[in-house]
Amino acid sequence: MNTEDFTEDMDAIRLIFFDECDEQLTLLEEELTALEEEPGNGEKINTIFRCVHSIKGGAAAFGMEDLVRFSHLFESVLDRFRSGELSVNAESIKIFLKCKDALSDIVASFKNGASTYGVAPEITADLKRYLGSDVSEPESTSENVEMEDIFGMSFAPVKIEIDGPSERQFSIVLTVSSEFYERGDDVRNILMALGGLGQVNVQVDSDAVPFLSDISVCQSYLTWQILLTTEKSRESIDEIFDWCADDLRAVVTSVPEEPKQITVPSAPDVEEKTDLPVRKGTERKDSATVRVDIQRIDKLVDLIGELVINHGAIQSQMRRNKVPGDSFLGTVVTAQEQLIHELQENVITMRAYPIKTVFQKLGRVVRETARLTGKQVRLVLEGEDTEVDRSILEKLSDPLTHMVRNAIDHGIESPEVRIQEGKAPEGLLRLRAFQRSGRIIVEIQDDGTGLDPDKIYGKAVEKKIIEKDQKLDREEIYSLIFEPGFSTVAEVTDVSGRGVGMDVVKQSLQQINGRIFINSAKGRGTIFSISLPFTLSVIEGIIFKSEGQDFVIPINNVSETIIFDNKKAFHIGDGKYGYPYRDSYLSVIYASDLLGLPSCKKNQKICFVIENENEEKMALIVDKIIDQSRFVVKNLEDNYRKIDCFSTATILGDGNVAFILDVEFLFGELLKKRENSLEESV
């Protein structure tokens, strides 16, 4: 390995460290939230302590002093709570949450390349109050003490109480793998932490270390034998190894009576000959996991997409050569199709993340917004384990953040108003995720003032979004809040109320094929329901032909398919047509006209009744339906360029490209045609 490779590796390790920080911060937030419900739960405090401890350990390995300094201070305070010296209450949880936010900020800052970060003094002051006189040791500042402890520049002597009544000895045999260092950890941190528990006597077995000519730099050859004399419990020792993942092996045995010399067995011997508990890093509660670079998963998804296309090519050739479906080849190909389908679903699931990652971040948004608006808000999270494709999750965070802010700023009332209205002073904000009919539903519910249809209508008229006296039903009025520039609050606040938010929310959700619905009751609150696909990689659709070319329409936009009778279509004017449908009429769009194809309308025999997210319907007339299937989505902009009528494309079994229709765009075009007709008639 040369220096350049090593630097690249270190950069990769650094990224892994930040990924782990994100995981620890998520867990930290989760446990802090749970602690609010159960302040007396000691296990929660232990987990919180370990999260902070893990971040500190990694940060020390990378020399991120400000992060180490703050996490050490935080950890010291947590230790007081863990030992039972202090009790958890609402105030302490509030401070812990602030500290968690500060930790997130420091981690983000270092991730973005900063080398220093100053935590707000009031946060450190809050923590130091818990430590009392311990932070003002003579002849050294508390911060110096902390850094000395951490970096071992001149760490404090260990307190030894010979013949102390509760003092015990432990023998620890420690080996680490090369991955231990690659992960950014260092055995020095472990030994220092053990030294913090009591008196340590360390011996190193270096017999396995090769001569310089043969040494592999990143491989670990050493075994340490540590004799630890401490008043602390066995659990305290185990906790030190908790943040070391699976690449550290520590065999801890209690030495019950007089200390004795213990020979250091080689690591394999230890594993084979002893029944003693072997602690392999963090033994997590959940099942074993492997960290895989997300780009590899993305590549796997792409490759399976290619496999699906390839399989389609085989089926296409079979049809062309009239191979019967019940032949041996036909049976094998059908079985293979099922396997590919399962493989595809499994790989897409691998790329799915629990929505928890987004929900947890919103906890902070809620706290900050509540603080800025002077409101009291209780956040309830439900269905955090609901999994969503990563590509969707990434784009969900911003719109949800905006909606949560809006719900607090405009929805939930101030405590005074709530009391006057007979409500609890604390407002409720519920975030809920669940699956329904193959889609993911995310709900943002508040028990605030609710939407006022009259107020929204009036504002929309005032803003010239709608005409005066325009007939709209309640849902249509609610949907006006998604119009650009709409705002019902007179005063622009620091939080929201600039009227530039909800239209952006809607656009962002449309980009991920999301739909949004509103249910509100005046004075009782509002529920925003967002419906999302599980993945953007595959689409269920109907492939059809128009003037000899293949196109795909997403199945969730197709309300019904009927035989088109050209004689029933009637001309409205200016090349526009209507078509009777049940007890009403639909505007007609001929696919050939829309797509700019030379039209021969006599071929057009199929009518798709399509609908948009507002449940508006129109008739799309095409030549014939070919099949209904799942299609692998290919991004047009990445492979060619944006084309207005089409959202994406797919590759068919015969190698041809079929464009996937952008139904919202079709409705937009229809609306434009209506407006143009109006202007012309005026």
Binding site: T3, F155, V176, Y181, S206, V209
Partner: protein
């Protein structure tokens, strides 16, 4: 005989350049540890390897002007024998 001036931080990031530097030493390993503030596990292992190499080839291994921090770090990792090699333990 050349004296290898050790840097302030002998952590994982320095292990590869340190190894390359050590492999260039012809025979003796003489270090100046006056600036050292921190020694990590991998660099400690390289020092141990240099020590063993020197023992094997009958050459010199010596850490001069060792800083208190380096001394503490080596002791922490059980490397007292490295200190004894230059009579400073």
């Amino acid at each position: 005989m050349s004296i290898l001036m050790l840097p302030e931080i002998l952590d994982t990031g320095y292990a590869v350049p340190f190894s390359e530097r050590l492999k260039k030493e012809e025979r003796d390993f003489v270090f100046d540890g006056s600036q050292v503030g921190r020694v990590g596990g991998l660099c400690f292992q390289l020092l141990v390897s240099a020590y063993r190499t020197a023992r094997m080839q009958g050459s010199r291994f010596e850490i001069r002007n060792i800083s208190d921090a380096m001394k503490e770090n080596l002791r922490l990792m059980g490397g007292d024998f490295l200190l004894e090699a230059q009579g400073d333990a």
